[in-house]
């Protein structure tokens, strides 16, 4: 061991070389065990609560499982049922409507807010105020808005009446979805805007200076400078909000209790209902698997967008 080291480093004394070899070899050897020790907690958690459950979820989706009895294998019956399940289909449609509307409107509003933050150089404290709604649990958000929109005493309805407009109601089938969408956008606006703002701070100020010298208006600079340069950030945030919006649940459960009107019955709610109200864990798992595939695809796109993000503006 020491002889090979000596041969390599010709001049060094044998004692020196030996000391070095002792210092190096065991470190590599020890690193393997140290790595194992450091990894154990996270690895245990990951195997027990992520990997194994993923496998069990697929298994449940092939069974009839009511929690009380052992799961009974029924092949693809759950999926066959799902194909013909009008409620599932309508909740998926409702969810997609919600996702598309919230993402499109939310992104546009957040971009404008972020542009204001950037061009007016809003102080950190102003930006953190705009973040407040995002920090609050959705349950509280839903309750506050349910109260503001209360049919008899809601303050927002009072304001609407005061300016001669008709009031709005959670329980009006045609208004329910727009209301939920608006609340969702409201609660996420500051957060999404801050993400865009973070992207905008990467845009070199020289570009705006040059634009100003050329006499470009703020509007023009927004469309010609800001938007093109933060495109990767927009892609990332859009996918992220879409994934978040797919999982809308608390707003519906609070707004409508255990039995939402069909206009707002989202797929997440339907999974919850099947699994925990009707105790059909197998069927719930099958719907969850389909949703997981959709969300997984979106996340994969997100990761790709992230990689795209790296190449731009750097």
């Amino acid at each position: 061991m020491s002889s090979s080291a000596t041969r390599e480093r010709g001049e060094s004394s044998p004692a020196e070389a030996e000391g070095e070899a002792r210092a190096r070899r065991p470190i590599h050897h020890r690193e393997k065990w140290a790595a194992l020790v450091l990894l154990v907690p996270a690895l245990v958690g990951f195997i027990v609560f992520w990997i194994l459950p993923s496998g069990r979820s697929i298994w449940y989706s092939l069974t009839d499982f009511d929690l009380l009895n052992e799961p009974q294998f029924i092949g693809l019956d759950n999926y066959r049922e799902l194909l013909g399940d009008d409620v599932a289909r309508s909740s998926l449609v409702v969810t997609i409507q919600f996702v598309v509307a919230s993402v499109v409107l939310g992104t546009v509003l957040a971009l404008l807010t972020a542009a204001l933050m950037q061009r007016l150089r809003l102080k950190t404290w102003v930006r953190s105020i705009l973040l407040l709604p995002w920090l609050v649990p959705n349950v509280a958000i839903a309750l506050i808005w349910a109260w503001l929109l209360d049919g008899q005493l809601g303050y927002l309805n009072h304001l609407l009446h005061a300016v001669g407009l008709p009031g709005v109601s959670f329980y009006n089938a045609s208004q329910a979805m727009p209301i939920i969408i608006a609340i969702g956008i409201w609660s996420g606006l500051g957060y999404t805007a801050l993400l865009f703002y973070a992207g905008m701070t990467q845009v070199p100020n020289e570009m705006y200076e040059a634009g100003a010298i050329d006499g470009a208006t703020e509007k023009r600079m927004f469309f010609q400078i800001t938007l093109p340069l933060i495109r990767p950030v927009i892609a990332l945030v859009v996918v992220m909000s879409a994934i978040g919006s797919f999982q809308v649940f608390d707003l519906v459960l609070i707004g409508y209790g255990g039995n939402p009107i069909p206009a707002v019955r989202t797929i997440f709610f339907y999974i919850y209902q099947q699994s925990f109200a009707f105790f059909r864990m197998g069927y719930g798992s099958a719907i969850a698997l389909v949703l997981a595939v959709i969300l997984g695809a979106l996340t994969a796109i997100q990761m790709r967008a992230m990689r795209a993000n790296r190449s731009d503006l750097s």
Binding site: G45, F46, P133, L143, A198, I243, F249, I271, S285, T299
Partner: protein, 323 residues
């Protein structure tokens, strides 16, 4: 964004102005003092945004201080005519049942003091333990040489692709079969040890730290644990604290898991307690003053967090990208 956490934390290569180093960033605020019509409109919009963000919470607090009997009379007043603490007292479980009923409650037991403590424990324990466990794993991935390092890291990353709902049902069945429903261990178990995002985030940061110091320490005989716990971890206080902050906020908002796994008096967290309170309140005339007092109790810790750590929180979003 997630992909660029490092430049914001470590001394950034990008932030060094290469062009004209003498010019301070501020000089670019062209005509910041001049008020143009466009600027006036822009500032008005900002004012409206702030108002719209804050007013619903103001209304929540206003209602919480309104006596139930005056809810109708005060329904359009910006300040309650006879402010009272009674709604807080009854949702915190400080009044007798008769007093609660007299103040507009249903007489159902409410103990939001306890639910707050539960939530603090739930969010605090997960933030601390999860972040530490993930920092340990992240350090292994960033610094240690062992076979399968990148494959294992890839496996953890794949966890980002698994939506919560997918593991929620089997985890519920598992916790149930362990007899852990409605216990704290059942509540925290799925999240306490690992978050793929935290591992990803912290590994990125550890990779950005200079290797040389550690290598020198290794040659001086400092072991892996010494290097991690006494050198790298103290050097990473900022990002580790940021990760904890993000985790606390995330767990504070958590609803579905605690709803199905820990809906008993001893373990109920604020979000679940709020939902339950609402579900028990009569549909025809909800106990709005009580519900708003309970909502205020839920929001106050978040509000304190924002006042104390708003700056860090806002700046952390620059590189966390959320999740």
């Amino acid at each position: 964004m997630i992909s660029t956490p490092v430049p914001d934390l470590a001394p950034s290569k990008k932030s060094a102005p290469t062009g004209s180093p003498a010019r301070p960033r501020r000089s670019i605020a062209r005509g910041a003092r001049r008020v143009t019509p466009g600027k006036a409109v822009a500032w008005t919009v900002v004012g409206l945004l702030v108002l719209v963000s804050v007013f619903p919470f103001y209304w929540m607090v206003r209602t919480a201080f309104t006596p139930a009997a005056e809810l109708i009379g005060d329904s359009s007043r910006l300040v309650p005519s006879n402010p009272t603490w009674i709604n807080f007292a009854r949702v915190l479980g400080l009044t007798s049942m008769e007093e609660s009923v007299a103040a507009g409650g249903t007489g159902a037991t409410l103990d939001f003091l306890r639910y707050t403590a539960n939530t603090l424990f739930y969010a605090g324990s997960i933030a601390i333990v999860q972040t530490l466990a993930c920092a340990m794993a992240a350090y292994s991935f960033a610094r240690l040489r062992f076979r399968g390092n990148s494959a294992l890291f890839g496996l953890f990353l794949s966890g980002l692709l698994i939506p919560g709902i997918f593991t929620l049902l089997p985890n519920f069945a598992l916790i149930r079969s362990l007899g852990w429903l409605n216990t704290f261990q059942g509540l925290i178990a799925p999240a306490i040890l690992v978050s793929p995002f935290a591992i990803f985030f912290l590994r990125q940061f550890f990779l950005s730290l200079p290797k040389e110091v550690e290598e020198a320490a290794a040659i001086d005989g400092v072991g892996v644990f010494g290097r991690f716990f006494r050198m790298t971890l103290p050097m990473s206080r900022g990002p580790v604290a940021t990760m904890m902050l993000i985790t606390v906020v995330g767990v504070w908002k958590e609803f579905m898991w605690p709803l199905v796994a820990a809906n008993s008096d001893g373990t109920r967290v604020l979000t679940v307690a709020l939902q339950r309170f609402q579900a028990q309140s009569p549909n025809t005339s909800p106990d709005w003053t009580g519900l708003m007092a309970a909502s205020t109790v839920t929001v106050i810790p978040v509000f304190i967090l924002l006042v104390l750590l708003g700056r860090q929180l806002v700046q952390s979003l620059n590189f966390s990208g959320g999740k």
